[in-house]
């Protein structure tokens, strides 16, 4: 079987895979990083979004072999080693932007990439458009949009700390 070598959350692994193995299968089943989820089979739902070399990618849409030599970040690799959450994770908690939690890892990974690509900030409408590739069935997106709007201020250094959610 072919081998793939990749660095996931800072740790380099070499894994044997079938040619047809998807990146998400490698992450979940070979590396046991089960925070990345599979919610569909048509690349529609975005539950599997990870960062490959800094770009958000649906991990069900690329083969493991295509990620050979890549730097991959999953939801497990977002927080600092001391447990400090990424501002986007913190914002999702503060704004109640998750319910069942299943779409959440992909949603957070997509949101981080979306914010990074818009250093001048995103409007509510732009955030909604930017989430086109991620489905959530629980929240109605209302609080996800608010969380991303708040997190972008911290990520771009325009705010020192996350604005608290209104009571």
């Amino acid at each position: 079987m072919p081998q793939v070598t990749l660095t996931v959350n800072g740790k380099t692994s070499t894994v044997e895979v079938e040619g047809r193995t998807l990146l998400v299968e490698l992450l979940r089943e070979k590396l046991r990083l089960t925070g990345t989820h599979v919610g569909c089979d048509t690349s529609q739902c975005g539950a599997c979004v990870v960062h490959v070399d800094g770009e958000s990618v649906k991990a069900c849409t690329i083969l493991a072999l295509q990620a050979n030599g890549s730097q991959v970040t999953t939801i497990e690799g977002l927080a600092k080693p001391d447990g400090t959450l990424h501002p986007m994770q913190e914002a999702f908690r503060e704004y109640h932007a998750l319910q069942c939690g299943f779409c959440t890892p992909g949603m957070v990974m997509s949101a981080i990439d979306l914010v990074k690509k818009h250093p001048d900030g995103l409007s509510e409408k732009e955030i909604r458009e930017g989430l086109e590739g991620n489905l959530c069935r629980c929240t109605g997106y209302h609080n996800i949009v608010k969380a991303i709007a708040a997190a972008q201020e911290v990520m771009h250094g325009r705010a020192q700390a996350l604005a608290p959610a209104a009571e």
Binding site: D41, C45, Q99, L135, C138, A165
Partner: protein, 795 residues
Amino acid sequence: MNVVTPFEGIGASVKRKEDLRFLSGRGQYTDDINRPGQTYAAILRSPHAHARIVSIDTAAASAMPGVVAIFTGADMPDLGGIPCGWQIHNKDGTPMAEPMHPVLAVGKARFVGDAVAAVIAETRAQARDAAEAIEVEYEVLPAAATMEAALAPGAPLVHDGVAGNVCYDWHIGDRAVNEAAFAKAAKVVEFELVNNRLVPNAMEPRAAIGDFDRTTDEYTLYTTSQNPHVIRLLMGAFVLHIPEHKLRVVAPDVGGGFGSKIFHYAEEAIVTWAAGKLGRPVKWTAERTESFMTDAHGRDHVTKARLAMDADGKFLALHVQTLANMGAYLSTFATSVPTYLYATLLAGVYTTPTVYAEVKAVFTNTVPVDAYRGAGRPEATFLLERLVDVAAAETGMDRIEIRRRNFIPNDAFPYQTPVALQYDSGDYTATLEQALKTADWAGFEARRAEAKARGRLRGIGISTYIEACGIAPSAVVGSLGARAGLYEVGTIRVHPTGSVTVLTGTHSHGQGHETTLAQLVTDRLGVPLAQVDVVHGDTAKIPFGMGTYGSRSLAVGGSAMVKAMDKIVAKARRIAAHLMEASVEDVEFDRGTFRVAGTDKTKSWGEIALTAYVPHNYPIEELEPGLDETAFYDPKNFTYPGGCHICEVEIEPETGITTVVNFTAVDDVGRVINPMIVEGQVQGGVAQGIGQALLEACVYDNEGQLVSASFMDYQMPRANDLPPVSVATHTTLCTHNPLGVKGCGEVGAIGSPPAVINAVVDALKDYGVRHIEMPATAAKIWGIINASRPAMAAE
């Protein structure tokens, strides 16, 4: 013990305890679990809606790499069928038709997706490869793909023994009284409408792992379930014949349910049974296409209704005839949805003195249909709130005035409806007025004119609704055909150092119970939230439970916890009385502190807890050590959340695209424990309601092929399809449970669809539209606008 923490108790929007693990990728959903020596199951499914299975040849598939076993229905002669949990009786008193639902198809396949064979292999991919290599010879039969086709003379029979494909023909209400009222009516409005079939689509696909320990004869099933004890009962007692003490069901983190994960599904039985046969764990995880083809669908009603009114617009009588699609087999609670969860709500918030409803349940060659968020109540609400708008339009009355005139007044509670239910509390005028103000109903015509100047059609719609949650009491539902009790169970386990573990028979799959239920403990016992953990979803840990559906968890499960805490406090006061050498009657307890009334003698919560477990100075002759109590709570009545939803839309006439521009929800969910979570529940429910109203269509073709079987074909609401949703609450307390709570999980999905469609119809009022069926897609609306263009131009 820390000081009292009032801001974490009832009414505080504390952040959720469960979030950290979900945000860190540390949730444990069923597919995240792996057992040593695990194998993988793939299910071969019927590609035909209706076909006789002539032969199944597994020889080639069995020889493929990694295949451990292949099973078909013929390998399971001793297994029971998948049971239905509610027996409905026909008008003539005879019981409904209840055909066998085998775990794997025997003789015939009855819908596209019906399980025909199960392949067990070393890897997921090998199992799928082998499933494709099984050769099945089918004799394709004509299919009854729709209710209309199933009821036509000479229609193909889904089940050979069920004449006319009718499961039951049921009614409620007094027909003679109803007809007499119609005879006196000044005006009768007739109306027909469809409640569109939906696919629930929780984001986590269903999954199940069966495990078996030969040394103890114990089975374990890990499954994506909203009610593990119910699955243990149904699967253990009726299907696999495994006694409860040898069957553990674990429902770990579950990624959304919305009803679809209440039911016992064939795959749960397959993996559990196969694990026993093979002596190895067996895991199955649905692909999304399988979810579309096998998760129970929702809604799918066709209804004719007549509303009788007097000259002043007062409702005199309602007559409803509904056809309800059951699909090919009876799912767990399918039969109760269009009867006791639908027809009993047809009085709505109105004083209509007589309601008579007839419901015919129909078998078709489609996926079984069962409860989906709201379950019967959205269907009742959509009918009523559309009908009221039509009645207003046809009598020239104002839409608000006709509702006000027919509201059940505040002084009428408890209010007995003509369709069995007794509403305990509500204030429909208050929620209406608050919503009208928040939505600026009065200023709408100016917004309509402004939109018109921009070339947009703007409309506003309202819905004033009631629903019923926390289905109960057990004795009543039992007399109506329920085959289970509908109580709930809570254990409060106080540890020696005073921290608390709650064991609840309800299950959280997004609702935030680990936070909300902990807040009840903090509020009552004064234990800080960080020292209260809620455990759910494991029959080995929880004494018993009926699970989570019908917005019951707080009203029924929370009430069980209150009962258990009452016992804890009663015992703790006796221990405190002993320590402080006072009589029990003189010991007061308030959030963490025991005090001898009128003195400064106190004992802390921690001291009492420790004494209970280290009973050195203890009334041991009269009191057992320990502080751990369990209570079963059987509700006295349903709870009745209600409220008002207002929707404002804009339609682009060139494309027919509808945009929801404002949505206002004012709901009465009883006492609010965590406002942040309640808002989130309503927002999510409204999103599903808007999805039903504008986007989501589950489509079968005439051969019974499911045309909309992926996220590319079935339009789920995305972020840009939805508006910000304004959520507020107005509370009247439930009068019969100790918390005064009513439930908030379903109100959003129940109240919203008619508000949306009423708004769309209002936007199209110049086009002579009386009704538009859901989903009101752009194509449908464009068709309406386009067809009437010449008429408009001629005016």
